[in-house]
Symmetry: C2
């Protein structure tokens, strides 16, 4: 495996693409290209969580896919560490459409190395968690829109994502706001205002802005297939978010798969020791999602290998 | 992840240790040490198979363990590419006890970096496949024997393995010879003579030599616990090998777990796309073994994290 880190904006150390490129072998794919899974960690657009970065990339690499982690612009890279409602200013770089544009920039960077790394650019899969899922889903609905293509000065076909695997994401801000108001937990509501400040640039975005930042409202025929998962007990990003996203995909005839597990808190990542900061995050029933996603990805991107192994012959000399 | 390659014998490019060291994060283990899984690929002591090298390391890294791949001395690194019975000479470096000593050398190399890498040296797990499983199992029965300790000039406590995860290995040469004679396939028997030439230095090792190279005959109280798996249909290394190894472990009261799947050819590795050279090697029922091994490893080496996540508080400023 070859690991490299790229700074996507010259001197800025906060926006990086870390690539995990598998070794080719004559015993396996022998020079054929593979899909690449691009990981966007979550962290409420305040930070990029390590728990949803390298361990996720390695889980997909273990499936035989190249992987990469994008650390996109988040609030903590600005002048303040946290976006505190009513107390801290906005930070323009973490505000939409900044973070989603960086996914496009990451894809163009990967494209520059695709021949050397043996990456199949028709098989770029985005995977994100929580705010990272929001970012990936937004990219999936805006990738061919001038907001991205004009910004990057790139033909849209250079930027097409093939699929997305998204965990406990935010897809419908108006519904999110209503659900959190219903929960009525002061901490959650304030947390959400902080999120708003980081991502919308204001604690109280207007309806139009929220709809623009809600992938569930923006799905259309060029949106790629999605694998969505979440947990019913998530009280930070309600599971209804994934249901509403699935609903939008269904309405637009976009293929999808949806798994809402009943138990489990927000932010479980791989739901096992590789990503847990506490034992309560080790949940074997939820730790099945990577295999479910593996099967779903294989349906689309099965490796082109022969049916049967070549017969081995003892060499003559 | 930090990847580094070490040459274990100065200029020799054939014996290498490639380390896959996970990044530490305050969000996960926060400075605590982890187990390391040391991978020995198979290849009949003729070569080291890529299919049983990096992909295996990455599968264990995805569980949250550090990993490393040892490419030990094999016949193809000598003057001839294959050991052809009756035609090619022996190559002393691939002959026992050479390859098993190199596992000890690898462990000492890891030990030198254990503080920097945060490796728990009491949790070194060997994993090997086919001939690699033979090599690991031999190390497990000889690690505290002068054949290794004197050669390395190291105290045995520097060399102790904590456990082993072994796939379709060779553990009992006399039984292997009998089973292959029974199968009566000329190719298999000749292949086995080639293996004998590579590992014993002669096509026809005597009984005493075979017993020395048979871990099932050498199990004793300092042999670590083992997780063994194989497939009943394997006609290269009969599944009985794993049964006989389990029998020896049982007799010596060494903890073990044994899984013999019914279907499946020799050399399945992860039994999925990450390691398959042909579709017939993708077998979902066998691809479950890494999770079974993950559960078994977790019983022994559970990460020391709190039960419950710290409550997140919105910062004051």
């Amino acid at each position: 495996m070859k690991i490299e880190q790229f700074q996507l904006f010259g001197d800025r150390k906060d926006v990086t693409l870390t690539t995990y490129i598998l070794e080719d072998s004559p015993e396996i794919l022998n020079g054929k290209k593979r899909p690449l899974i691009l990981v966007c960690p979550g962290g409420a657009y305040m930070f990029c969580s390590d728990r949803e970065a390298e361990p996720i990339a390695l889980r997909f690499a273990a499936m035989g896919y190249h992987a990469a982690v994008l650390r996109y612009s988040v609030y903590s890279n600005g002048e303040n560490k946290y976006a505190i409602p009513g107390k801290t200013p906005a930070y323009e770089k973490s505000v939409m459409p900044g973070p989603m544009r960086e996914i496009g920039k990451a894809i163009l960077t990967i494209r520059e190395h695709a021949e050397e790394w043996l990456v199949d650019m028709d098989q770029i899969v985005l995977t994100g968690y929580s705010a990272g899922a929001n970012n990936c889903a937004l990219y999936c609905v805006y990738w061919d829109n001038p907001v991205i293509t004009d910004y990057l000065g790139a033909d849209k076909e250079m930027l097409r994502p093939a699929a997305a695997v998204l965990g406990y994401g935010v897809y419908d801000y108006p519904a999110m706001q209503k659900d959190l108001d219903k929960i009525g937990d002061k901490g959650r509501i304030e947390g959400n205002y902080g999120f708003n400040l980081a991502f919308f640039g204001t604690e109280h975005p207007d309806e139009e802005t929220m709809i623009k930042g809600s992938p569930a409202f923006q799905v259309h025929e060029t949106t790629p297939p999605m694998f969505l998962w979440s947990t019913r007990e998530d009280n930070v990003v309600p599971a209804r978010q994934s249901v509403l996203m699935a609903n939008a995909l269904a309405e637009n005839d976009i293929p999808f798969e949806l798994h809402i597990f009943e138990r489990g808190m927000h932010g479980l990542a791989l739901a096992d020791q590789a990503t847990s900061q506490a034992k309560e995050q080790n949940m074997p029933e939820i730790a099945q999602w990577p295999e479910m996603a593996e099967r779903w990805l294989k349906q689309r991107f099965e490796f082109d290998v022969p049916d049967v192994c070549p017969k081995w012959e003892m060499p003559e000399e």
